[in-house]
Amino acid sequence: MSEDVHKTAEHLLAGLKVEGISSAERKWLEAHLGSCARCAEYAAAVERAVASVRSVSIPPNPTLVRATQFRVRLRAQELREQESRMRGLWISCAFSWVLGALSAPLLWWGFQWVGRHMVLPDLVWQTAFVLWWVMPAAVAAAVLAGLRARAARENGIEESSRR
């Protein structure tokens, strides 16, 4: 029997365990193993190797399980509280934005009146209006960015583990 035949049998034996083989290949392999002691011994060795991986176990650790469940529950509670705070912040942001949008014309007239009353150049009172109008959104954005950065640090978030 040529060496190539044994090599093919060895490859098929590994293939059988790793990804499966076709029924024709299986038939050929069975016939070959029936007549080749060397490959039959190889097949038994592969079987032993797979069985050795399957047979490894670890002792149970109920303390670890209970401690983990406790920590997970505690963290879940923290996250719920955090989310509730964030929800409040988002609602107030949305409210302030709507209010800002609705009051913009009034504010514009107000700044215009003050600017004319104090004889200021148009650019000055218009800049003041823009700053006044943009300020709440800028503060809210800064607070949110800060909170997000802190949460990322606490959770050790890394892009690599995103799936």
Binding site: V50, N61, A76
Partner: protein, 201 residues
């Protein structure tokens, strides 16, 4: 017969998908009961996998807890299409990699660490003292053989033959192409066979 097998396979696949969806829903809601159940259900598999990756009992136990905290925080990213175990192992694996980067841990299960825990061959409770001793020795022999395998081969073998993950799931867990996974399995199996043959003689 063929139809019956098809029906059975479809039923199992459908049941697994439904379970995956149920887990995804529970994780989105951060359901504490579901998390308790999952922690109990996956305790052996996850700890065993972490032990294989780190080779240290204390580190594996710390990472076991960290993994579940990460599952809680990232639960919304699980869509239920994959088996939950594969997603869980991927999280655990990333935590091990992060830890190794941070603390410059040695190659997992290098066999050089003093606190490497010997893994045990499965034992039944009604075994005699002699049988227990023989199994312990067998377990130590297996652990030694596995410890001498390169980590990437060992990981692939464990995921395939111990955790029974599909090749595609292993590829997702280890973040490698399917061809790489297959190659690692073939080479790992051959290396393990040689190691066991060598240890047995």
């Amino acid at each position: 017969m063929g139809t019956a097998i098809c029906w059975f396979v479809n039923s199992v696949a459908s049941a697994m998908e439904q379970e995956g969806q149920a887990i995804a829903r529970g994780l989105r809601q951060r359901d504490p009961e579901l998390l308790d159940r999952l922690i109990e259900q996956y305790q052996y598999r996850l700890l065993r996998y972490l032990l294989f990756l780190t080779g240290r009992k204390e580190t594996a136990e710390d990472l076991f807890q960290e993994t579940w905290l990460r599952v809680l925080e990232r639960g919304r990213q699980y869509d239920g299409k994959w088996e939950f175990g594969a997603w869980l192992f991927a999280i655990a694996r990333h935590l091990v990699i992060d830890l190794r980067k941070r603390k410059r841990l040695p190659e997992p299960l290098s066999g050089a660490g003093e606190d490497v825990q010997p893994l045990e061959a499965e034992a039944t409770t009604d075994a005699s003292a002699f049988e227990l001793l023989a199994r312990r020795e067998e377990g130590e022999r297996l652990a030694a053989a596995l410890a001498r395998l390169p980590a990437v081969y060992r990981e692939a073998l464990v995921l395939r033959f111990q955790e029974d993950l599909a090749l595609e799931e292993i590829a997702a867990v280890v973040d490698a192409p399917l061809s790489t996974v297959k190659s690692r399995l073939y080479r790992g199996l051959e290396a393990l066979r040689e190691l066991l043959e060598g240890a047995g003689t």
